[in-house]
Amino acid sequence: MLKDFRIRTGAVIADGAQAFRGTSDKEQKKRFKRDRHKTKKVAVFRYAYYAPAFKYFAEQVLDCDYLALPQATRRTMELGIQHSADDVCTPFKHMMGDWIEALEGGADVLVQVGGPCRLGFYGEMQEEILRSLGYDFTMLNFSHGIEQGYVGWAKEVMKTVNPDINVPHGVKQLLACGSMMTKLDEARDLYMANAGFETERGSYRRAWEALLDAFSLCQTPKEIDIAFGSFMDRARSIKLDKPEHPIRIGIIGEMYTAIDMASNLDLDEKLMAMGVEVHRMLNFTNRYTRYNEPNLRRSISDYVAFDMGPTTTLTVAAAKRYAEEGFDGLVHAKCAGCTPEIDAIPVIRRVAEDYKIPVLYLTYDTETSDTGLMTRLEAFYDMLAMKKEASLR
């Protein structure tokens, strides 16, 4: 209790001490910095490996406290199922479970980042459901204000969470947060391509987890660069035993399920454990920071004439590029009820036929069993391995 008190009043005591050093009232007023920090606890839903960036956003951009969620468990899923409509897409259910656990853990502000599909409407619905359950909280919904551009979005953020944000500082930190997400993607790409071939099992995983820890502690753009640099050093020094022609699989699919490990039951890890070089073009970087849909669509103009929705252009473009690069197979992952990706499937089929590349289609819901997934992945791997062996002979 006492310790807590000291920490909170620490800033005041320090300022007070300065005041006693014989400075005039005027000078003191000038030096006395407004405490912009809010002690609200901000929580973001669990999504893939981006938690360190969410923490950075809560602490450095919003200037609030961050509430870290522990790993999702079966209870999370059960809470989500219980409080969601049965036929809503699976990410909605995962998020509902996350929100309830966050509120139980003491969250004051929930951040719903929205998304390029129905996800954009989920914020309001989830807020409604949670309020009707009797929870009290503020929801920062990225779907609000964004219709007036970034300025509108920023106003919304300040209005709902922290009106005292130092705007230039906040913008700088928001860009740093974006750069952290890009670096997470870059690190993950390297990890997925190589972890299946490390001579000492678990080396990559340890390096990756160290990076997540380091990113969680970052407060400035410089610290992000340093943490990333030391990960790259460490990752490059990991000894690999990679065959000349490794089996390469590209994961394509829907924004949430194809990336989020709790949703896809560790799809990428399972493939890496079989000794596969895994690629996944779909990530934050390629969908947001560097997304240029019309130009991306040029590469698939033989197949697609217009933008079909959130990630379909990226899905088809990735499928085609992997096929052209001679990948051994593709895994298409989506949640049950994902309309845009269902639309993409016939196009992927055509790509697969033209380039003769096998595709494993996976649809995940809350009941998807690990055993069933393993059977399919093993069979897919066996098939690719036998095919490869025959072609190299």
Binding site: R75, R349, V359, T363, D370, A379, D382, M383, M386
Partner: protein, 335 residues
Amino acid sequence: MSAATTAGKEAYLGIDIGSISTKGVVIDEGAHIIARSYLWTEGDPAGAAKRVAAELAGQLEDADVRIVGAGTTGSARRLVGAMIGATVVKNEITAHAVGTTYLHPEVRTILEIGGQDSKIICVEDGIATDYAMNTLCAAGTGSFLSSQAARLGVEVEEFGKIALTSHKPANIAARCTVFAESDLVHKIQVGYAREDIIAGLCRAVASNYLNNVGKGKRICAPIVFQGGVSKNEGVVHSFEELLGQEVLVDPDGHLMGAFGSALLALKAGPVEAGEDGPFATGAFDFQAVQDFAFKTREVECAKCPNHCEIICVYRDKDIIDSWGNRCEKGAIKHT
């Protein structure tokens, strides 16, 4: 037969333990089937594996062979694999592809309908190039046919013959087992002839399969149809009608998973003599499998809210295998 001697030709055992039936074969070094067994699992995979082993041992009574390796496949592959000390434990898709492409190197499409799952495997130049498996729904599989046979008071083995006598198969909604069943009840109550209903069911199974599992796959001839349901002439006939092509059914088609896993064991080579278990002497001891008591227990791990159900397999009093834990916390030590 004394399996523990070093004399005799080398042979390999393959067991496919499905949800409904359990299949076993023994092949010699030239990959010829020298013993075969097919019986119902009856909800007791360990017991079924024992019965299969006993039947195979009976057929090999006079043969001068010793079994130096074993493979398992099917949904109980892990359990029975641990039981018999299998060298290869492989999923049923791979086992079927390996078995069928060995016997029919020219095959292009493998249709497979089992008790609870169905799959399609596309083959090019003897190598599987694409496959699909039913995902959310067990519509049109063997267990659906069995339950409908019970409703109609007919042995499921008789289904095919009865279906072929129909001239005008009833049109039964095929998209889903639940709809198919209510449609079926309706047609029974309206008074359709039994053979027409049965033929309609067979047709529903075939069209459901092509619409769900075979969706988007190019089905090229030669086509091989296997799995328990391939024994049903009515379904074979419906497939031929719907595809407009001849559909091949191998007399050993229902054993293809077991044959494939025996082939994989043959490829893996002879097992090294272990300290205990059925391969303790370097050759498979059929008697030992009968003598051991196998038990499965489920333990719920309480170390985190995931509550993983960990399956432990015991041979007499020793844990020989366990699985189901998602992390190291739930790992159980076994011998």
